[in-house]
């Protein structure tokens, strides 16, 4: 034991010099890449605090020469839209995640039950949705012509509630609950709903928490469904508002001008307000997601390795 320890130490010592330079190189690679990850976002923050006249003269810059809050003033002056969109996004995220977890957990529990007659059939039923889909056009016709969900938040919430991937993950989490526990609860006369609520949910808490995070990220960042089905800006989530701002540089300016009629369009801080709205819309959720990052990975690793 002692001998191997000594040997290891000497080897470490011999390797020391090349090791530290290679470590330095590795640090250099990651510092460069980290800068690539952070700098674009710093530029946005910097633009949001710049004045339009400065930008028009010198272009965007890393650090604003003069701090200017006009961009923020403008998006908060026309309070309606940004607060509205915040509310819509929060509603979709909370409501969607809650229902999604209920649906995914129940079906995950049911197909994890070996004594359920249709467990296999239901698993295949879930699984086929992962292999094949009808595509965008049939889905669009269904949503607009048959279900009439245009300009309804249901169009954003409902399609994302259940997907095969999370059901199969959930089933894996549920399988970890000992069968004996379920059986003894049944002998005591507990109904399936009671078993699900009082035994399964507490036992599968970690799994449900992981999948909830995925769901929160999914709903919070969802822009495709709003883009397809929502035109009414009163129920536009943040991502759709951002899309409008991006695709039409004048979007904020024109809505603001119609709001404040005595303002000249050229005085409106179009450039800085565009980026101010990105900062206001995107920044608050970042610390939350970063805080929970390890759960995101846990979920995917389990998913890709199938338990």
């Amino acid at each position: 034991m002692n001998k191997t320890m000594m040997k290891k130490n000497t080897i470490k010592h011999n390797d020391n010099i090349p090791n530290s330079t290679s470590k330095l190189l590795i640090h250099l690679v990651f510092i460069l890449f980290s800068l690539l990850c952070v700098v674009p976002f710093i530029i946005i923050i910097s633009i949001s605090f710049s004045s339009d006249s400065y930008i028009r003269l010198h272009g965007y810059s890393m650090i604003p020469k003069v701090l200017n809050l006009n961009g923020y003033r403008m998006i908060f002056a026309d309070t309606g839209q940004i607060f509205n969109s915040y509310g819509v996004s929060i509603f979709i995220t909370i409501f969607g995640t809650a229902i999604s977890m209920w649906c995914v957990a129940t079906i995950g529990f049911v197909i994890s039950r070996r004594d359920y007659k249709f467990a296999r059939t239901t698993t295949i039923f879930v699984f086929l949705t992962m292999l094949f889909n009808g595509g965008l056009i049939p889905t669009y016709i269904l949503m607009t012509r048959i279900l009439h969900l245009q300009n309804s938040l249901f169009a954003v919430i409902l399609p994302l509630l259940v997907n095969g991937w999370s059901v199969l993950l959930m089933k894996g989490f549920m399988r970890s609950v000992p069968v004996a526990m379920i059986e003894s609860a049944k002998i005591d006369g507990a109904s399936e709903l009671r078993i699900f609520l009082y035994i399964i949910i507490p036992m599968a808490k970690a799994g449900i928490a992981t999948l909830s995070l995925f769901s929160v990220l999914l709903y919070w960042n969802e822009w495709f469904l709003p883009l397809l089905y929502i035109e009414n800006m009163k129920i536009a989530p943040l991502q759709l508002l951002l899309y409008r701002v991006m695709s039409n540089a004048q979007y904020l300016a024109s809505s603001f001008a119609s709001f404040n009629q005595n303002l000249l369009v050229k005085d409106i801080p179009t450039l800085s307000s565009r980026m101010a709205i990105v900062v206001v819309a995107a920044a608050p959720m970042l610390p939350v997601f970063l805080y929970f990052q390890k759960y995101f990975v846990k979920g995917l690793v389990i998913g890709s390795l199938k338990e």
Binding site: I11, S22, G59, F118, F127, L136
Partner: protein, 304 residues
């Protein structure tokens, strides 16, 4: 005492009811659209009825495949995905191997920072990139002009976009995929490395003989899953990042964007429903095919 049979029956019924909401949702939002697979064979427009419209055979497919679009959208969809798989895997495996050499604290810091782009939607990322690429005020053009070069109209020049798209895709996903491979590395029995170092193995030898072989199943699985999705493109990347610039369509239009535009812009879904059909069928074949390969490699990891 109740008979066993009764309890079983009740169990089945109760469980069926519990699963019902999810089953109904899948039925409506996943199975009903599958009927729409007949749409390209019929004269369907967004306004009229699927069932009463008349059959037109393969006309939509003939039109689609005789147009230059079919080739471009297929090439872009598959080509970019292949490049993403190759470069993305290379970058994230190398990053993971390098992270493994560092101490816990630095790993944590780098991981967190690399995760930042991952958590933003493509819309936010595209707005952020417009700060770099904007033709008049963008940082890149400010730099170019500062050093006496001519500024570039980024959103009008297709030449640059294959690089921009590949770079951004890898950049946004690197944090996530690196962490997956890093987790794989952490799972390796550390005694292997200790034994190798006692035997005087160099770092490169350990990477080649221990780390890479240990990651191999993970690399193969993730690659095969990506190949299964090769007919589907990341809509946000190809639509928002180039700001949906028509001048760039040659290098940015994928099957998904072609289909989306037919709904939202032209309103003529004939040819695009054929494209969607072709995408769904090829996607299915590829999933079945890759799963067949996965089963050969490692039955544990196959989907079915």
């Amino acid at each position: 005492m109740y008979t066993n049979k009764n309890i079983l029956k009740r169990t089945d019924f109760d469980l069926f009811v519990l699963a019902l909401p999810a089953v109904l949702l899948l039925l409506i939002f996943n199975y009903l659209p599958m009927i729409g697979i007949i749409i390209p064979f019929k004269d369907v427009q967004l306004g009229n009825d699927i069932f009463s419209s008349k059959w037109i055979g393969l006309k939509n497919f003939k039109f689609l495949f005789s147009s230059p679009d079919a080739f471009i959208i297929t090439r872009n969809t598959i080509g970019y995905n292949l490049v993403f798989i190759i470069i993305g895997t290379f970058v994230s495996v190398s990053f993971a191997l390098m992270l493994y050499e560092l101490g816990r604290k630095s790993v944590k810091v780098y991981q967190t920072v690399m995760f930042i782009p991952f958590f933003f939607s493509w819309i936010v990322v595209s707005l952020v990139f417009s700060g770099l690429l904007d033709m008049r005020y963008g940082m890149l053009n400010v730099f170019l002009e500062h050093f006496g070069f001519e500024s570039i109209a980024w959103y009008n020049e297709p030449v640059y976009w294959p690089f921009i798209i590949v770079f951004t895709a890898v950049w946004k996903g690197a944090g996530y995929s690196t962490l997956i491979y890093y987790t794989g590395l952490v799972g390796i029995n550390s005694e292997l490395f200790e034994a190798a170092s006692i035997d005087g193995a160099s770092k490169m030898q350990m990477i080649n003989r221990i780390s890479i072989p240990a990651l191999k199943p993970l690399i193969i699985m993730l690659t095969l899953f990506s190949i299964g999705k090769i007919f589907y493109s990341d809509f946000g990347l190809f639509y928002h990042l180039p700001n949906n610039s028509k001048l760039l369509y040659e290098v940015t239009q994928t099957i998904d964007i072609y289909v989306y535009n037919s709904i939202k812009v032209t309103g003529d879904v004939g040819m695009s429903s054929a494209a969607g059909f072709y995408q769904s069928i090829c996607g299915l074949i590829l999933v079945l095919f890759t799963n067949w390969i996965v089963r050969k490699v490692d039955i544990e990891n196959s989907l079915f």
